[in-house]
C-alpha cells in the first residue's frame, strides 16, 4: 500500500557509479568556478539533530581535506519544519555561496504551507545518504516489545506523547502511520530538532520518539532509551538486535534522504564545483565510517537523476500526506 515508500537503492547505486565516473573525466571543468567567499551551509533542522550533526561532519571533512578553497559556515534554520530554511534558499536565488542540507521536509513543507517555494527551482547537488528511523522509548518505562508499547499507548487513552520535529516532518508522518496501523491516538509535540527530541525523551517530557539512530544511539548505549523496532526493510547494521517492523508483522518502512541543494539560477560551472566537492567527500573514509556507525545508507545520486528523484518523492509525499491527513 502507500505506507511503504519504495527506495531505489539498486538504481541509485548504478547512478552513483556512473556519475562518479563521469566526474573523474572532467576535473578541469570544475576549476572554471571557485567560491570567492565563505560558503553558507544552511541546515533544515535545529542543533544536535541528525541533519545538524551530519552537516557539521561534512563541514569538518570538507575543511580537513581541503575540498573547498573557502571555509564552510553552517547555519541552523530549523524553524517551521524547515520552512525557514526553504524560504531563505529561495531568497538567495542566484547566490553561488549558499548550499542547503536537506531532509524529507524538503518536499512536505512546501506542500503544506504557503511559503511560495517550488523545489523544482532549486539546483540539486548530491544525495549523500538515506537515513533510517526506529521507535524509541525510555528504558525505565519497562517497555521492551512492540506489543507492550501498543498496549501502553492504548491504555493512555490519547494522552501518550510522541515527540517530533514538526507537523509534516518525517517523524510526524511516521507517527501518523503508527496511528493508522495500530488504531492509536497520540499527542504529537513538536521540537526544534531531533537532538531536542532525544533529550526530551530521556528527560521524561515525552513518552516515545521515532528518532534517527544517529540521534538516539548514544543514549541507548548508556541504557537510557530502548529501540523497539526499525522502520527499515533489513535490520540496521549498527543495532543488529533490533527487529524490523516487517519482522514484527507490520509493513512500515520509511527512510529519509540526506542531500545537498543550492539556490536556483546557478551556472553549470558553479553546480559542477559543488558536485565535484560532494563526489570527493563521498569517497573519504571518515564519512564512510560515520555512516556505518550511525546506520546511514550511503547512496550517492547527482544531477538530473537527483532532480527526478526529488520530484518523484514529492509526488509520493503529496499522496502520503493526503492519505494520512497529516
Amino acid at each position: 500500500m502507500t505506507k511503504m515508500i519504495s527506495r531505489r537503492m539498486a538504481l541509485g547505486g548504478v547512478a552513483a557509479a556512473a556519475t562518479a565516473a563521469s566526474f573523474g573525466l572532467r576535473p578541469a571543468m570544475a576549476a572554471d568556478w571557485r567560491p570567492v567567499k565563505p560558503i553558507e551551509m544552511v541546515i533544515m533542522g535545529g542543533q544536535g539533530g541528525g541533519a545538524d550533526r551530519l552537516a557539521r561532519l561534512f563541514q569538518s571533512i570538507i575543511q580537513k581535506n581541503d575540498l573547498s578553497p573557502m571555509p564552510i559556515l553552517p547555519v541552523n534554520k530549523g524553524g517551521g519544519s524547515g520552512a525557514e530554511a526553504l524560504r531563505y534558499l529561495k531568497d538567495k536565488q542566484g547566490d553561488p555561496h549558499v548550499i542547503m542540507a536537506t531532509l524529507n521536509s524538503y518536499y512536505t513543507t512546501p506542500l503544506r504551507t504557503d511559503i511560495g517555494v517550488d523545489i523544482a527551482e532549486f539546483t540539486p547537488i548530491a544525495r549523500m545518504a538515506q537515513d533510517t528511523f526506529a521507535l524509541w522509548v525510555r528504558t525505565d518505562s519497562g517497555i521492551t516489545s512492540l506489543e507492550q508499547y501498543v498496549e501502553a499507548v492504548r491504555a493512555a487513552g490519547g494522552s501518550w506523547k510522541m515527540g517530533g520535529t514538526g507537523t509534516g516532518q518525517e517523524d510526524s508522518l511516521l507517527t501518523a502511520m503508527l496511528e493508522q496501523e495500530f488504531g492509536l491516538k497520540y499527542v504529537y509535540v513538536p521540537f526544534n530538532g531531533g537532538g531536542d527530541v532525544a533529550k526530551a525523551l530521556v528527560g521524561g517530557h515525552i513518552d516515545s520518539t521515532v528518532n534517527n539512530p544517529s540521534e538516539a544511539l548514544s543514549f541507548a548505549q548508556a541504557d537510557r532509551v530502548t529501540p523497539l523496532g526499525a522502520f527499515t526493510a533489513e535490520r540496521i547494521p549498527a543495532m543488529p538486535d533490533v527487529p524490523t517492523m516487517r519482522e514484527l508483522g507490520h509493513d512500515l518502512t520509511y527512510e529519509m534522504q540526506r542531500s545537498f541543494v543550492a539556490p536556483g539560477g546557478l551556472s553549470s560551472e558553479q553546480t559542477a564545483f559543488y558536485q565535484t566537492m560532494m563526489g570527493k567527500l563521498a569517497e573519504i573514509p571518515e564519512w564512510k565510517e560515520y555512516a556505518a556507525k550511525n546506520a546511514l545508507v550511503t547512496d550517492l545520486l547527482m544531477g538530473e537523476e537527483l532532480q527526478a528523484y526529488f520530484l518523484g518523492e514529492r509526488e509520493k509525499h503529496a499522496k502520503l500526506l493526503a492519505s494520512l491527513g497529516a
Binding site: 534554520k77 531568497d91 517530557h205
Partner: protein, 503 residues
Amino acid sequence: MDMLSYLADGFAVSLSPLNLAVVLVGVTAGLFIGAMPGLGSVNGVAILLPMTFIVPPESAIIFLAAVYYGAMYGGAISSILLGIPGASTAVATTFDGRPMAQKGEAGLALIAAAVASFVGGTISVVLFTILAAPLAEFALAFGPPEEFALVLLAFTTFVGLGGDDVVKTMMMILFGLALSTVGLDMISGNPRLVFFDLPGFYSGISFLILAIGVYGVGEVLWTIEETRGSPKVMNARIGFRDLVDGVKKLGRTVRTMTMGSVLGFFVGVLPAAGATPAALMAYGLARSGSKNPENFGKGEVEGVVAPEAANNAASTGSLLPMLTLGIPGSPTTALLLGGMVMWGLTPGPMLFIEQPGFVWGLISSLYTANVFAVIVNIALIPLFVWALRMPFPVLTAVVLTLCVVGGYAPNARMHDVWMIVLFGFGAFVLRKTNYPMAPLVLALVLGPLMEQSLRQSLISSQGDMTTFFTRPISGTLMAISVILFALPIIKRLRSAGALKPAQ
C-alpha cells in the same frame, strides 16, 4: 577523589607547551573576533576550524574553546567603546557600558568587563568540575514548562523591581514580543506579519539588528541632538595606576559578579538558552537586587559586571550539555560538536567514561584560557581606550560605518541595513518620549523561546494551564515570578495611598 585525579591528569594535558601556546593564540584571536561587530564566536570558530587539523585533536578542541572564550571577552569591547554590541552575547553590556564610556569611565568599564568575565569564567569552570554529572540530569529535567517559567522570570526582573515607568516598560516588552512573532511560525511553518511581502521578513527580525539600530544609530542621533553637535571630547586616558585602581573599585561588585556567574552558568547549561539570555537575565536580576536601580542604564558599573560575568559563565555552562548529552547549548558549541565528531569522539553520555583524558584536558584548559584571556585583555585596554580619543565627527562616522557593516555581514542583505536605519530613528523618538529600550531588546531575544515553550507545554498538557504550576521546578520559578511582579505594586500601593493610582 576520582575527580581531582582526573583533573590533575587533565592539567598534564593542558599545561603542555603546545597546548599553552594554542590557548594563547586562541584567546587573542577570539578577543579580536569578538570585538568586531558582525563577526561573532560562531564565525570565528567556523573560519578557524581548518587550522585545527594541523594539531592533535585535544589541542584542536582546546584551541577552539579558547577562541570561543576570547570572543566572550572581546564582545564587551565594542559594546562599551562604540555602543554597538560586538556579539549578540554582549547586548546587555551596552546598557551601562556605553553610558560609562560617555562619562569618561571607559577604562573602568573595560576593566570591569574583563575582571567580571574572568570571575564568571572561573566560577563556572569550578562549578563545571564539581557538578558535571548531576547537572546533566538537571538539564534533562528542564522541559518546555520549565523553560517557559524561566523566561517569564526574566521578564519579571525587568518589570518588577525596576525604577522605570512600569507601564512603559510593559508596553516595550509587548512591542518586542510582537516583533518576535514576525517571520515563519516555528511550529506550523506558516508566515506571519510579513510586512509589504518583503522577503526579508520571512526570517524574522534579528535582535542583533534591533540592538545595532537602537544602540548604534539611535545613540549617535541622541548624542548629536543632546549636545547640538559639539560634544565634549571624551577625556579617556588610562595608565597602569588606573588599572590597579579600577580593579580595586570592583571590590564592591563581588556580590553581583558571583550572582551573575552562578546564574549564567545554570542558564548556559540549559540546552535551549545560551549566553545571550543569560546575560540579559543577569542584568535584570542585578538591577532588581540593587539599592539604586534608577542608576541602571545611566552608567552603573554593576550593569556591566553582571552580564559579562554571566555570558562567560554561560559559555562554559553550554559546553556541559554538549559533552554529556551531545546537545549543544549554543550555535558555537554546535560547531565544536562538529569538530569532535570529525575527530572520532562521540559526545554523549558515554564520553566521560570512554574518553576521560580528552574531557578533563578540555576542562582544565578552560582554567588556563581564563587566565590568559584576562591578561591579554587588560594589557590591551589602553590601546582600546586610546581609540576613543578620536574627534567626535570621526568617531561618529566610524560608529555608523561599523553599524552598517556589522548589520550587513551576518546575512549579506540590504534589508537588514534598512531595518537598522528604521530602528535607529524609531529608538530615537521612543527615547525622547522616555520609553526604556532594554526591555524591547530582551523581549525580542526571549520572545521566540517563550512562544515555543508555551506552545509545546500546552500541546503536551492538552491545553491544561496548571502544568506550569504542578511541576516542581516550573512551579517554583512561577512562584518567584509572581512574587517579584507583585512586590513593587504592593509597595507602591502602600506608599502612594489611595489617591494616586499605582503606576
